[in-house]
């Protein structure tokens, strides 16, 4: 499967020849930093490479640079010339730096400047408790403690009038206070700043001399609702020093690395599924909170569409955590997301994360229960079987059950030490035995670890599906991430999801999504005008949209997009006057009629008599990026695949012979005998008996749950 000649050092890669001639003048790279591995996908001339190397959590840029050097060399070798080391690099990066800093509360010492009398708004929140019937309910502490919140005597009203002007003496006082507070970052959120940003601007100017990064609410999120806006800008300020330090370090290192080339460009994936420049990301890190997982969702959507898989639930199991998202028709974004219990009101893909992954550590708790995660062995020390770790993880349990079928990880790049895994699982079994006063065997302990880990992940899948009223029986599970393949079928079975799709390169799938995503720039302006007739919209609206369009074109051009590669879409946020929530209506044709219709469909009623207002006009500018083409097999012939060998694997408490396949050797149309284990670079898939496995024309591995399909057929309810 693997071109061994590429393996000069420790890194192995998977190479695919792509048919379309990509832009010969640049090397396009998607880099996704995960908790355990950093995944790469790179496209140069006719070739595509995917590979992964261990992450370097303390300095994530290290793994990135190592990878870049490696892949340049690899391309040069394929090429025979050294073109790859001479051309410009175009990098899209999915990063977890912001997420981790927020989750672990390791952001900057941050001050908050508010209107006087409202310093506690971020502590009061919306005055509600997160859990209704729980007497021990808790709320997360605010990111800025009381003593670092400063109130300014100033006041703007709802219509943008100034009733208490902001005096210079106030600003001088503030400057003095902030100097003494020794903060690393400052958030500014004054009441009604979206109606009149002049006071926030004055604060920002007055603080310039301090040389501390300042996040301003009307720039990050010029929208009403002071708590949500303040929370968002505080998170931004809290993350800004950490993220900008990281990105400037990375940019610096890249430019050194790329000094001999035509240069390099770095883009960062946003939580909404499009990328932005590194400069914007450093200033507005709150937009990158789900940067990593967003790539996977973008790629999954695309793959599912090509494979005609209908509605999907994405299942991205990595070393440290698992991300799931449900996509019906389109990936949904929300601006009512909560991360670590704090509202983030910028658009974010609706993704749910749990702390369960291949590296999740298993232990017996005080009450004698077997727990798995949320602590993870991460990349360092990693699971015991990687050679350094000393505590049992999910990966160790899988190994102890023989589920890697004698293969290593990354085609042997990481050797798996079976004895070490057996030893830590034995220790766990001994602990379990003590707790239950019954002898627990190694196999029982390992199966227990898998079962508990699966139940954690199943809860996440339920949350996005069942708990939101979507019946899993009508979805396809798209499984990717290095650790997912060993668990996907079991989870799907438990939830009665009839089909699993495991795309090609599941281990570097999020990285692929980074290259599939367009550059997205969102612009909006609050206009707040009533709309009287149904013929077109007022000239003023047209003027505003045109202005936004101009800006978008300018910005996209600055990012190197020719007009032919720009896609601009105009929408208007409309509602009945007096409502608080808008519907987004495409700004063309009879918008008024479209609005009434949309309101009727979505909410069960409409009232053409009521005045409709346009709250804001929005423009989304997409820079259409050069995408690696997913290859489709021309002719698909059904054929029984030949297993490479057979291995003895514990499935349940029985050890049974399982056919082992090499995924690289499976052609489109290949039918696979189950139970089976399919080994490939970056992932291993377990297909239990009762499932049918095949390879589709896009080289996706497709698992069908026979029993569920039969059941659905029998009920005559099989849809799609």
């Amino acid at each position: 499967m693997l071109p061994g000649d590429l393996d000069k050092r420790s890194i192995m890669m998977k190479k695919t020849k792509i048919t379309r001639s990509a832009n010969a003048h640049s090397l396009r790279i998607g880099v996704d930093t995960g908790g355990t591995f950093t995944d790469f996908i790179a496209v140069f001339k006719d070739h595509q490479l995917t590979f992964k190397i261990p992450s370097t959590p303390r300095a994530p840029e290290q793994a990135i640079l190592d990878g870049l050097i490696e892949l340049t060399r690899a391309f040069d070798e394929i090429d025979g010339e050294s073109d790859a080391s001479r051309v410009a690099m175009d990098i899209v990066h999915g990063t977890t730096v912001a997420t981790n800093a927020l989750l672990e509360r390791k952001g900057a010492r941050t001050a908050l400047v508010t209107t006087a009398g409202f310093e506690d708004v971020i502590e009061i929140g919306r005055q509600a408790r997160p859990d209704l019937y729980n007497l021990s309910v808790t709320r997360p502490d605010p990111l800025v403690p009381r003593e670092l919140r400063f109130g300014l005597k100033e006041r703007i009203t709802a219509d943008g009038g100034v009733i208490v002007p902001l005096k210079q003496t106030e600003l001088a006082w503030l400057r003095e206070k902030l100097k003494r507070a020794k903060v690393e970052s400052i958030a500014v959120s004054l009441l009604f700043s979206f109606a009149d940003p002049s006071h926030e601007r004055a604060v920002s100017e007055a603080l310039e001399a301090l040389n501390i990064p300042v996040s301003i609410s009307n720039q990050i999120l010029p929208e009403y609702r002071e708590y949500e806006r303040t929370s968002t800008v505080v998170i931004n300020a809290y993350l800004a020093p950490v993220v900008s330090r990281y990105l400037s370090g990375l940019t610096h290192a890249l430019s050194r690395h790329a000094s001999k080339r035509g240069g390099s460009r770095l883009r960062i994936m946003q939580s909404s599924g499009g990328s932005i420049s590194a400069q914007v990301a450093a200033r507005e890190p709150v937009r990158t909170i789900l940067s990593g997982p967003a790539g996977g969702v973008v790629a999954a959507m695309q793959t599912a569409e090509l494979a005609d898989a209908g509605d999907i639930i994405t299942f991205d199991m990595g070393g440290t955590s698992t991300d799931v998202a449900l996509c019906r028709g389109a990936a949904r974004t929300t601006n009512e997301a909560q991360i670590a219990g704090l509202p983030v009101a910028v658009p974010i893909l609706d993704i749910h994360t749990v702390g369960a992954g291949g590296g999740s550590i298993a232990h017996v708790d005080a009450g004698g229960a077997l727990r798995v995660g949320p602590q993870s062995a991460g990349a360092d020390p990693g699971p015991a079987c990687y050679g350094k770790g000393t505590r049992p993880t999910v990966t160790d349990a899988n190994l102890a059950l023989g589920r890697f079928a004698g293969g290593g990880l990354l085609s042997g790049q990481i050797k798996l030490d079976e004895e070490r895994a057996a030893a830590v699982i034995d220790e766990l079994a001994a602990e379990m035995s003590r707790a239950s006063s019954e002898r627990v065997t190694r196999v029982q302990a390992a199966l227990g670890v898998i079962r508990v880990a699966n139940s954690n992940m199943e809860r996440a899948l339920r949350l996005v599906s069942v708990e939101r009223g979507h019946d899993p029986r009508f979805f396809t599970l798209v499984s990717f991430g290095g650790a997912g393949g060993l668990h996907a079928a079991a989870l799907a079975g438990g939830l009665r999801i009839p089909r699993v799709l495991i795309p090609a390169h599941p281990g570097a799938f999020s990285a692929l999504g980074l290259l599939l995503a367009d550059v997205i720039k969102d612009y909006s302006r609050t206009v707040m005008t009533s709309i009287e007739n149904s013929h077109g919209h007022p000239r003023e609206i047209e003027r505003q949209l045109a202005a936004l369009e101009k800006r978008a074109i300018r910005d996209l051009r600055a990012e190197g997009f020719a007009p032919s590669r720009m896609n601009l879409s105009r929408t208007m946020a409309m509602r009945y006057r007096g409502q608080s929530f808008e519907l987004e209506i495409e700004a063309s044709g009879d918008c008024l009629a479209k609005f009434h219709q949309a309101h009727l469909e979505r909410y069960g009623h409409a009232d053409p008599q009521r005045t409709v207002e346009i709250v804001s006009v929005r423009l989304r500018g997409a820079g259409i990026t050069e995408k690696p083409e997913l290859k489709r097999a021309g002719r698909v012939q059904r054929s029984e695949a030949q297993p490479q060998r057979s291995a003895l694997v514990w499935l349940g408490e029985k050890r049974v012979p399982v056919s082992v396949y090499d995924r690289a050797g499976l052609k489109p149309g290949a039918m696979i005998d189950t139970p089976a284990i399919i080994i490939e670079y970056g992932s291993t898939t377990l297909v239990p008996a009762g499932w049918r496995a095949s390879v589709d024309r896009w080289r996706n591995l497709r698992l069908d749950f026979r029993e569920e399909i039969k059941r659905q057929k029998a009920k005559g309810k099989r849809q799609k």
Partner: protein, 541 residues
């Protein structure tokens, strides 16, 4: 019964209720519904038994089933009908809470006698429902002063809105346009719920859907029984008081005796004061809701909000008393104030049974503030309603939360930037009332200070409690600070105001509300011990 399907249906039905809520919030017009989420949506089976309710307002939880029952009994609903009601003496709780109930039947209304498969219902608190004071939450001695009373009547017949009924209603409330929009939002939300339920039936068949509705009720009942089994058998008594004075001159007493016997409980409110001529009377539905809330909190983990929860519990609420008032007693505050005190009393009683679980008293009031008058900017009437959070009682093992709604409510605040846009009011201060929580090994949460300036002359009402009797502490913990209200006139004169009042105030006047803190838990001198322990533990980490 299949345990996975049970879980799926539980989530399905509650997601229908949640989606109804989302639809209501997104299409409503008054800030109290769209920003504060003062509403609940629920799904009932064909027998009218609750099978799911969104996590909205606990006070609605136990009381919505009575609305549905009243609608079914009095209106003989047909497909396409919607019944509206708010009469506390006929399925309602207090007048501003208007409930709509609709039967769900298959999509083709022309089939002969189509079966009613489910009922959907929603209840929203309207910022005004008429009566003597804007906001309909002012001082009153009879229910007739509190607003228009709507017994269960059809507002939609066979899919057609009954304009006559609708106009009658709208003629009796302030802010007609806003009200009209909110009613439309409620009707739309019912349609959204019905549509989702019919999708479920289409997919899996009515038999399965109905079977699992029944299983959900049984399941919740089993869960409740298990919980009761774990509480030591015995009889636990407690009493507490409202600030109001009864006709005998005594403070209004709520007393309860909780008897736990195996898997059953009996909650007896005998000994509570007779009903009074001020609006703190609670109708039986409120009392049942409070009982429901407290016992549901005792169930570890998640349990479907279904009729089964109350099945093993018997509630004895003597008629004519403060916890089961008869007409024409005014009831506006029963829902929001007395309900909180009933919870305090129940928890106090249960703390004897399981001290390790029960928190000290929380603020014990919702601080209902209503301001209404003529909005000169828009040339129209306005009615603003808000409840203000306070301190949560300390838990045995954790401090109480500050500035949070507790027990029977969980409505959000009105964002200042929404409030000032909608009403001629200006918020001058919104802060945590530091030091108002009770002392103790674990401290009670702090209350809130909210100061609002009037930009026009207006009528201001407050309906609040815990101004005389402070929230209690437990196991030696201190009391939370009592609440207070003040009027600061344009000329800077300060005037203390009682817990319940309706006054005419002038443009430029400011109302300052300080809400109670929660009670503490454990003796104060144990706090130093606890802090030392925690420091040590942190160091070790």
């Amino acid at each position: 019964m299949d345990s996975i399907k049970l879980e799926i249906y539980r989530s399905l039905y509650s997601s229908v209720a949640e989606e109804m809520g989302l639809s209501l919030r997104r299409t409503a017009f008054s800030p109290n519904i769209k920003e504060r989420r003062d509403y609940s949506c629920a799904v009932f089976d064909r027998r009218g038994r609750l099978i799911a309710q969104g996590d909205h307002m606990p006070v609605h939880l136990g009381s919505m089933p009575m609305s549905v029952r009243a609608a079914i009994e009095r209106c003989d609903m047909c497909p396409g009908d919607v019944v509206i009601l708010n009469d506390p003496y006929a399925g309602g709780t207090h007048l501003p809470d208007v409930t709509m109930v609709a039967p769900v039947s298959p999509a083709h209304p022309l089939t002969r006698s189509p079966a009613l498969l489910f009922y959907v219902a929603n209840r929203a608190h309207h910022a005004d429902i008429g009566g003597a004071t804007p906001g309909s939450m002012g001082a009153a001695s009879e229910i007739y002063q509190e607003g228009i009373r709507i017994p269960p009547v059809r507002i939609v017949r066979g899919g057609e809105l009954d304009r006559d009924v609708f106009n009658l209603l709208l003629a009796n409330v302030r802010g007609r346009e806003e009200r009209e929009g909110d009613f439309a939002a409620q009707l739309g939300s019912l349609r959204v719920g019905a549509r989702r339920l019919l999708e479920i039936v289409d997919r899996s068949g009515f038999k399965e859907a109905d079977d699992y509705a029944r299983h959900l009720v049984d399941y919740a009942s089993r869960m409740m029984k298990q919980t009761l089994m774990a509480i030591p058998d015995g009889s636990y008594e407690a009493e507490d008081f409202l600030d109001d004075t009864s006709e005998s001159g005594e403070p209004v007493r709520i007393s309860v005796r909780v008897e736990i016997r195996g898997a059953r409980a009996r909650v007896d409110f005998n000994g509570s004061s007779p009903q009074v001529r001020s609006p703190v009377n609670a109708v039986e539905a409120i009392t049942v809701s409070a009982v429901y809330y407290v016992f549901r909190c005792l169930i570890a983990g998640d349990v479907p909000a279904s009729a089964g929860i109350l099945e093993p519990i018997e509630v004895i609420a003597p008629a004519g008393t403060i916890i089961n008032a008869l007409p024409p007693a005014p009831v506006a505050g029963g829902n929001v104030e007395t309900s909180q005190r009933i919870v305090d009393v129940l928890l106090k009683a249960l703390s004897q049974a399981d001290p390790a679980l029960i928190p000290a008293a929380s603020q014990g009031t919702m601080n209902n503030l209503t301001i209404g008058g003529w909005d000169e900017r828009r040339d129209q009437e306005f009615a603003y309603y808000e409840t203000v959070a306070g301190g949560m009682g300390a838990r045995p093992g954790a401090d109480g939360l500050s500035a949070v709604h507790t027990h029977m409510t969980n409505s959000l605040n009105t964002p200042i930037e929404a409030l000032e846009y909608a009403y001629p009011l200006r918020v001058r201060r919104y802060a945590i009332r530091r030091g108002s929580g009770g002392e103790g090994k674990y401290r009670g949460g702090d209350g809130v200070v909210r100061e609002i300036e009037l930009l026009v002359d207006a009528c201001v009402s407050l309906l609040a409690d815990r101004r005389r009797f402070a929230p209690y502490g437990l196991m030696g913990g201190g009391e939370g600070r009592r609440g207070s209200a003040e009027l600061i006139s344009g000329d800077k004169k300060r005037r203390k105001l009682p817990g319940k009042f309706s006054i005419s105030a002038k443009r430029g006047d400011r109302i300052v509300i300080e809400t109670p803190g929660g009670g503490g838990c454990g003796a104060s001198n144990d706090r130093t011990v606890r802090e030392t322990e925690e420091r040590k533990r942190n160091k070790r980490k």
